[in-house]
């Protein structure tokens, strides 16, 4: 590779398109004709969504007994899927908020894409605890309101913390996403080719005109929301992990859980970003704004998170051994690697810790086929990690007389598949309705890149 090509490979924006050309390219995602591939994908996701609603209706009508949960496996697929989906959301916030605060300009092209992923993943996640309540129509009991029964939520338990954390996370992600999108909605309004689009986008743009006053407050609010989302994203998965860590169950009762969960969440989220962005980049021909540099940076993040996960697995083993607690020792050192579910443990280890070592190689970090396959494996591995924590721990608790193997029912599997379809449906709609690459931020970045290359201090 020549030096010029190598340098070009490392750019966050290939070429220097004019503001107009860049706007046209990035706005065009909302007005290209619908292709056959998109329609097929939409139809599949739509069918899966219908199935999801059928399964949810069944669960609500017949009760939670339709799922594989039973004592001692009180938390089965419902909580695995909840933790998996909400973890996926975390990479979106990591990219859009933490990398903004750290002034990493490679986040610009992909931040809105991943914020959308966050919102839709949190929607799927929220479904599970709601259904898991058994009587979801009483979900509002989780929130403090002056009820005629004279009772209040028990706020010393981890579950109301969870309700507060997940609700806050969803709302703050929504606000951050919308605030960043207002200037681009205005661009859509001004480039609308039908009156209906002009009116609809015009309403959502709230009359944005890009005045100095508006930018002045927008800039500060955007940075402030990023600053607030940074500790928020760490707190959400920490609180989720406290649902486990505050109990006494072997395999759960550990102070390692909050950082372990946060790192795992970001790991799985980066994997899903990769899974989604590789086909989207190709279909919408975004090779100039999503470059090898982005893939390289994300693969490095996955490698780091993979090592944090590996460290956590080792620490769990060590702490179990060092504690001398016979239940912990059995759970971690016997049951996980050699028990009934040992296959899940070894597959998880392969997906989360072994295969990611490919990313030490620069060539692998830029090979889209490798990235795509590895990202799918990480998604699987991180799902299995939650399976490991929840099902494997619960199925072997203190008393051998209560040991029980968990087997999911067809409703469990249907709901998991259904949420994948529902997520896909929302995402496919999102790709066509709003610009998923932030246009104003891209143009600003381009202007700064031009100024820097001309030797002007921005």
């Amino acid at each position: 590779m020549t030096a010029v090509a190598a340098a070009r490979d490392d750019e966050v924006l290939i070429g220097r398109p004019s503001d107009g050309a860049l706007s046209d390219q990035l706005l065009s995602t909302t007005r290209r004709p619908f292709t056959r591939g998109w329609k097929v994908a939409f139809a599949i996701c739509g069918a899966l969504t219908v199935m999801l609603f059928a399964m949810v209706t069944l669960t609500v009508m017949r009760g939670i007994g339709m799922w594989g949960n039973n004592i001692p496996n009180a938390w089965g697929f419902g909580i695995i899927n909840f933790v998996w989906w909400i973890g996926i959301g975390h990479a979106g916030t990591f990219i859009s908020a933490i990398l903004l605060v750290l002034e990493q300009n490679w986040r610009t092209s992909i931040n809105r894409f991943t914020e959308g992923m966050t919102l839709f993943a949190v929607m799927q996640a929220g479904l599970f605890p709601l259904l898991h309540l058994g009587r979801p129509w009483f979900a509002y009991w989780l929130f403090p309101y002056p009820s005629v029964m004279g009772t209040w939520p028990q706020v010393r338990s981890a579950l109301p913390w969870d309700a507060a954390a997940v609700t806050t996370y969803f709302l703050v992600s929504l606000m951050f996403w919308y605030l960043g999108m207002i200037p681009d909605l205005a661009a859509l309004r001004d480039r609308a080719h039908t009156r209906a689009r002009r009116i609809v986008y015009g309403i959502f743009a709230l009359g944005w005109r890009g005045s100095a006053q508006q930018w002045r407050h927008h800039k500060v609010a955007y940075l402030l929301l990023a600053g607030l989302a940074t500790p928020l994203v760490v707190s959400v998965h920490s609180i989720v992990s406290l649902d486990f860590a505050t109990t006494g169950l072997p395999g759960w009762h550990s102070t390692l859980f909050p950082p372990f969960f946060v790192a795992g969440a970001i790991f799985s989220g980066f994997a899903l970003v990769m899974t989604l962005i590789i086909p989207v980049r190709k279909v919408f021909k975004l090779e100039n704004v999503i470059t090898p540099r982005h893939f390289d940076a994300m693969a490095k993040m996955m490698l780091i998170m993979s090592w944090i996960a590996a460290y956590a697995y080792i620490a769990e083993f060590f702490v179990a051994w060092y504690s001398g607690d016979r239940y912990e020792v059995y759970q971690q050192l016997v049951n996980r690697p050699t028990g009934w579910y040992a296959w899940a443990f070894w597959v998880m280890l392969f997906c989360n810790c072994i295969v990611t070592q490919l990313f030490w190689s620069r060539r692998m970090r830029r090979n889209l086929k490798v990235l795509f396959v590895v990202s799918l494996l990480i998604n699987l591995g991180m799902w299995l990690e939650r399976f490991e924590i929840i099902v494997v721990s619960l199925s072997r608790d203190f008393l051998p007389s209560s040991w029980h193997i968990f087997v999911p029912t067809w409703v469990d599997i249907g709901i998991l598949t259904g949420t994948l379809g529902f997520f896909g449906l929302l995402f496919l709609g999102y790709l066509r309705l709003v610009p998923f690459i932030p246009i104003a931020e891209m143009k600003q970045m381009r202007a700064e890149l031009v100024a820097t290359s001309q030797g002007v201090q921005p």
């Binding site: 806050t168 005045s211 500060v220 402030l224």
Partner: protein, 178 residues
């Protein structure tokens, strides 16, 4: 700027707009506004805009949210509905921290979003500047400089010449000049 400006000038880049701004300052004008598709480095300073005060509003809202959440948890657990759980204290400060923190973030974020919109004069779906021909490119690739009505140094011939010398593509007088 709540009302229609007196004078608007169109530029094709951020640096050109800054040049136009300097030219008009040299003419003695002072009531400026600018409409740009993205933030221009140095524009806020050139316009003399001070840092937004919305951080203070968000701080106040965060304190109210966090303080309110802590108070509510204390009141629920200690005063209105005390539940004895294994003899643990009713006022368990560590257990109140997660919800306190989440509500502080939620209130501060909502306040930041709402104040960014309200202080920026939004939502306001129609504004006189939208009527200016070609203004629809202000969100795409054109940079507009505006001067408010009532600026005593407005002078049609002199200002137009200064702007054109600075590279303005177009100068529009909206009939509000003195």
């Amino acid at each position: 700027m709540k009302h229609a400006p007196a004078l608007m000038a169109e530029f094709d880049s951020g640096p050109a707009l800054l040049g136009g701004l300097r030219a008009l300052r040299a003419c003695g004008l002072s009531r400026f506004d600018a409409f740009t598709p993205y933030e221009i480095t140095g524009l806020q300073e050139a316009l003399g805009v001070r840092r937004s005060r919305l951080t203070w509003i968000a701080l106040a809202a965060g304190l109210v949210g966090g303080g309110g959440a802590y108070f509510l948890q204390w009141w629920i657990n200690v005063v209105d509905y005390p539940l004895n759980i294994g003899g643990r204290p009713y006022h368990s400060a560590p257990a109140f921290i997660p919800i306190t923190f989440e509500m502080a973030i939620l209130f501060a974020s909502a306040a930041a979003l709402i104040s960014a919109l309200v202080l920026g004069g939004l939502p306001r779906l129609w504004h006189p500047v939208f009527e200016v021909d070609g203004f629809d490119r202000a969100t795409i690739d054109r940079f507009w400089l505006a001067v408010g009505v009532g600026d005593s140094a407005l002078d049609r011939a002199r200002n137009t010449a200064a702007l054109e010398a600075a590279g303005a593509l177009r100068v529009v007088w909206l009939g509000g000049e003195s």
